[in-house]
């Protein structure tokens, strides 16, 4: 479900990106489409 805490989701139509900061029940949609998790390569830790 497109609603996981701390995950980023992107609209495939307009590329708007959101970050979930509080978990909830609903699923994120934009332009009528369920938002997707963009593939991201994590950076190495620096702190």
């Amino acid at each position: 479900m497109a609603n996981q805490m701390g995950k980023r989701y992107m609209c495939t139509v307009c590329e708007a990106t959101v970050l979930v900061t509080k978990a909830g029940e609903g699923e994120l949609t934009c332009h009528g489409v369920v938002m997707e998790m963009p593939a991201a390569a994590p950076l190495p830790s620096s702190d």
């Binding site: 805490m5 701390g6 995950k7 970050l19 900061t21 509080k22 978990a23 991201a40 994590p42 950076l43 190495p44 830790s45 620096s46 702190d47």
Partner: protein, 362 residues
């Protein structure tokens, strides 16, 4: 935007995981959130209406509790160098007034009251005094949205496995100390504090706690390398990852370290107080390529601070601000959402196009 959301997210999703200290007696993220609220309560009770909370302690629970507690209370968090003589500390505190000084026992959660999650404060999140070469230190200001830009652009929430632990030996009043608390909390990696650094204590603590990650400044790495060279038993087999920065690293020390710890991933992190810490990284692959390759192109990478992190632009400029050609030295300029360059009572180092003039040569 409020940096307290970093701890809020960790406490909601990873509440029972140890945030700070040993596995047996450390504070969990849920407990750390209560401690932060307790600190906020104490700040609210200050009748002088403080707009800054100063912390004059070595790394201990009060440090993360005050960093997040200040955000809860909408005041600035100002960690001060506890090794300074009283007269100098008094001068710094005078510049922060109206300020209140946090006591270590403020983490006592008996005082934590339920409170509504705060909105975006007017006051900056953090004030750090940067040691100047000549005159009085400048009070560098970092705002909530700048620090959060660093967190959100470079980190993935909760990405640390619950076996991970970071040994933190950089002091709280250094940008690396602030970044260590924010980053470790956001990714869910336990902080193992080492308030007073010696190479022997660092190795012993890292062994005992099964530390997986570490960040050091070059002088610390030089000392650790010396001890390791003198004692084959002085190793930290769990150490997967070692980041270094804060000053120039001598290639000879780095090469010795790479040979002593071949299983460890090394990362060079370049950043300033004014940029909310890291803006460029040289990753583990580049370190290994440089060590094992004969190609000058790769070998020279050990002298590089790597590539810009997401959201950051870096330019090398001549004195007029124009970009210079490749391989030509100039001043390092940095631009991005995590960049500040603002000070209390001093001119900003950011120009009209939002480029920070670092004064660093690169």
């Amino acid at each position: 935007m409020n940096v307290a959301m970093v701890l809020e997210m960790a406490a909601d999703a990873l509440g029972d995981r140890v945030a700070f200290g040993g596995l047996d007696d450390g504070l969990t993220y849920a407990e750390l959130r209560r401690a932060a609220r307790a600190v906020a309560q104490r700040i609210d009770e200050d009748h002088g209406k403080a707009t800054t909370v100063a912390v004059i302690d070595a790394l201990a629970p009060i440090v993360p509790a005050a960093l997040f507690g200040a955000a809860w209370a909408g005041v600035s968090y100002a960690p001060l160098n506890f090794r300074l003589p009283d007269a100098q500390l008094d001068e710094l505190i005078a510049r922060l007034q109206p300020a209140v000084i946090a006591a270590p026992n403020w983490v006592d959660t008996e005082f934590a009251t339920a409170r509504e999650f705060p909105g975006a404060p007017e006051m900056p999140a953090v004030v750090l005094f940067t040691s100047g070469t000549s005159a009085a230190p400048k009070a560098a200001v970092l705002r909530h949205d700048q620090l959060l830009a660093y967190v959100f652009n470079t980190l993935e929430f909760g990405s640390a496995g619950d076996h991970e632990a970071a040994i933190v030996s950089v002091p709280p009043f250094h940008i690396a100390g602030v970044a260590a608390v924010l980053s470790s909390t956001y990714i869910g990696r336990r902080i193992v504090p080492l308030p007073r650094f010696t190479a022997e204590d660092w190795i012993e603590t890292a062994q005992r706690e099964g530390v997986t990650h570490a960040t050091v400044v070059p002088t610390m790495l030089a000392r650790i390398v010396q001890v390791m060279e003198g004692d084959p038993g002085a190793r930290v087999p769990t150490l997967r990852h070692l980041a270094y920065g804060g000053a120039r690293m001598h290639t000879s020390v780095l090469e010795r370290a790479l040979h002593l710890m071949p299983e460890t991933d090394f990362v060079n992190a370049y950043g300033l107080t004014e940029t909310s810490s890291t803006v460029a990284l040289l990753g583990p692959d580049d370190h290994r390529l440089a060590l094992y390759s004969d190609e000058p192109l790769f070998k020279n990478r050990l002298a590089s601070v790597g590539r810009a992190v997401p959201g950051i632009e870096i330019r090398i400029a001549d004195p007029a601000g124009a970009e210079v050609a490749a391989d030509v030295p100039g001043e390092i300029l940095i631009r991005g959402e995590q960049v500040s360059g603002d000070y209390v009572g001093s001119d900003s180092k950011v120009d009209a196009d939002r480029w920070l003039h670092t004064g660093d040569r690169g």
